[in-house]
């Protein structure tokens, strides 16, 4: 989530794909935080091409506040329905976390109603956690619904995906962990997201998972990320794109892997921070089977012939972008 002024220079193309493509040939990636609802089919295609085999879409704020319960319900429903199906068309396994985000927790009248429908969604197939929840402005209302959702996660036996605030980040992160422990959550069931150099040490020391969002301008850059992995090693660290409706990059995970490779981080360590750790953390939900990552590809093939959807009648699943002909 950012608000960056777009100028001529920032619209220029950066480093081109082929320059780092070889670095990550054959690697598989898991992006545990990406808001695909805000992205296009071009992104799905590019992610699949870059080796992203599975992803998690946390429920979040859509850029403007919702005004009623039904839009929340439809949004949750689209995460487990249409968006999951759309991803499968590109051979990508789509999971989600369901929760009431911190910003909208401040609309208490609505938040109460949302809390009532959350149990209907957290038990759904492919829901791998309660998230993203936590603090934004660090208000009393935010705290109230954060606590209630920690209890919900505990009852459902699901991991928690914590959004840490942009403002007053360090204190907000500490406070988020304090409260999770106070509610008796096992830190191994909690993924603390949007870390930076200032927060990572405490998160790891206290036994939580530390997720890093590679997001231009407002969060981590991937060169800094390489240094973090060099300093702390790969244990309990994971990388995500958090790509959304802002200027962000759905290829952040593969690009970061390429940079790590180039800067001498071992292939095994890269695998841990860009794939395995996220799988391990969220598989505690009992909802992730790695074999599904490959079967979604074959399902996609059969569905293509059974005919669907983002593919209209008789349409090929891929378009050659360099061709001038559109058929």
């Amino acid at each position: 989530m950012c608000c960056h002024t777009i100028d001529e220079e920032s619209l220029q193309r950066g480093e081109k794909w082929p320059l780092y493509k070889e670095q990550i040939a054959g690697m598989q990636f898991f992006d545990p935080h990406v808001h695909m609802t805000s992205r296009t089919t071009d992104d799905y295609q590019a992610m699949a091409d870059a080796g992203v085999v599975a992803l998690i879409e946390p429920a979040f704020w859509l850029g403007q506040p919702r005004t009623g319960l039904d839009t929340f319900r439809d949004y949750y429903s689209s995460l487990i329905g249409w968006e999951r199906f759309r991803a499968s068309q590109f051979g990508i396994k789509h999971y989600c976390t369901i929760g009431l985000n911190s910003r909208e927790a401040n609309n208490e009248a609505l938040a109460e109603q949302v809390m009532e429908i959350l149990p209907l969604f957290v038990y759904k197939e492919g829901v791998v956690g309660v998230g993203e929840i936590g603090f934004d402005d660090q208000t009393a209302a935010e705290e109230k619904y954060y606590r209630l959702q920690l209890e919900l996660a505990k009852e459902a036996g699901l991991p928690v995906q914590i959004h840490t605030p942009h403002r007053d980040k360090k204190k907000g992160t500490t406070r988020s962990m304090d409260i999770a422990l106070e509610h008796g959550l096992d830190p191994r069931m909690v993924i603390v997201d949007h870390n930076n150099e200032e927060t990572v040490k405490e998160v790891l020391d206290r036994g939580f998972w530390a997720a890093f969002t590679i997001y231009p301008f407002t969060k981590m850059g991937n060169e800094r990320m390489v240094d973090v992995v060099k300093q702390y090693g790969p244990e309990r660290i994971m990388v995500n794109s958090a790509a959304d409706w802002g200027i962000s990059d759905p290829l952040a995970v593969p690009k970061t892997a390429a940079l790590m490779k180039e800067r001498g981080i071992s292939v095994e360590d890269i695998r841990l921070v860009t794939y395995q750790n996220a799988v391990t953390a969220f598989a505690q939900s009992g909802q992730i089977e790695e074999s599904d990552f490959s079967s979604v590809k074959s399902i996609d093939q059969s569905q293509k012939f059974a005919g669907n959807t983002v593919l209209r009648g008789g349409q090929a699943p891929r378009v050659d972008k360099d061709s001038v002909f559109i058929r």
Partner: protein, 304 residues
């Protein structure tokens, strides 16, 4: 006074027998703890204020898994005998258990019963929708689900559409012509197995045939293939005006379309249609000998 011996049920088939068949199959396939969990949920289902339906329906694959149900030929025949055209072939166990769960709901009050099931639709994910739509032919108060079924046809999610369109006896029994025609059109647009639409021939109608002819013309104009099975829905409505479209299909570069056009012509009572078929002696002979049929053509197209 109504007789004590007549039990009036809101189901159109022997629901108790169906539940027994399902139960036998589920007990074979489920782990004892999963079966017990299901029994507990079923027991709470009709208690006022209980959320057992929503929770059990959603959590089903977590508890019972998603393995494909292993079903014998006898068992398959038993299902079809209880409810004509109903099949659970290739169903996953969670789908079967979800449908079974719906059959445990109290049906005494139609409005309450319908509302409880309707509430599941807006919050359903794909596999839940598949189960819900495949349950339509088994639900009580069959007329109550017409609107829901018509709404389902608007889905763009392949497996959901397939659950409504293919091997589901509900639509042809209950949908009015408009919604039925939408179902058939959607089946063509999304490339479903047309031969798996139950009641396709029985529900053939001129309005559908005319729309499909328009569709065939659009496809030709765009130099795209015309789905061969389209001609099956046109057969009984071949007339002087659309005969040239069938003729075009009879000389198509696609073998399946030529075969389909010939089959359609053979079903038409229009003398010109008969004459046109006679001109193609090879296909005509195949039809008369039984070597070429809609069933055989569909199987060949599906690579069976």
């Amino acid at each position: 006074m109504p007789s004590d011996h007549i039990i009036i049920t809101p189901y159109s088939y022997d629901q108790a027998e169906m539940v027994q068949q399902m139960k036998a199959l589920m007990q074979q396939q489920l782990m004892p703890n999963a079966w017990q969990w299901l029994q507990e949920k079923a027991a709470q289902l009709n208690i006022q204020g209980s959320n057992a339906l929503a929770v059990a329906f959603a959590a089903m694959p977590r508890k019972v898994g998603k393995a494909i149900v292993d079903i014998s030929a006898e068992s398959a025949a038993a299902f079809a005998a209880i409810r004509p055209h109903f099949t659970i072939n290739q169903w996953s166990i969670d789908r079967l258990c979800r449908v079974w769960l719906l059959l445990q709901l109290n049906t005494d009050d139609e409005a309450v019963y319908v509302r409880r099931i309707e509430t599941l639709f807006p919050a359903a994910e794909m596999n839940e929708l598949v189960a819900l739509y495949s349950a339509l032919p088994l639900l009580a108060y069959p007329e109550a689900w017409r609107g829901r079924c018509a709404e389902g046809i608007r889905s763009n999610i392949g497996p959901v559409l397939e659950a409504i369109i293919c091997n589901n006896p509900y639509p042809s029994e209950q949908l009015p012509d408009g919604a039925w025609n939408q179902l058939v059109l959607k089946a063509f647009f999304t490339e479903k197995r047309i031969d798996q639409i139950i009641g396709l021939d029985r529900r053939a109608n001129e309005s559908l045939a005319n729309t499909l002819i328009d569709f065939a013309r659009e496809r030709r104009a765009a130099a795209r293939e015309v789905p061969p099975m389209l001609w099956r829905c046109v057969a009984l409505f071949i007339n002087a005006e659309n005969l040239r479209d069938v003729e075009g299909a009879l000389y198509s570069t696609e073998t399946s379309e030529r075969a389909a056009a010939a089959l359609a012509l053979s079903q038409s009572s229009l003398p010109e249609a008969k004459a046109l078929l006679q001109k193609n002696s090879e296909l005509s002979t195949e039809i008369h000998s039984g070597a070429l049929s809609w069933k055989g053509l569909a199987a060949r197209m599906a690579g069976e």
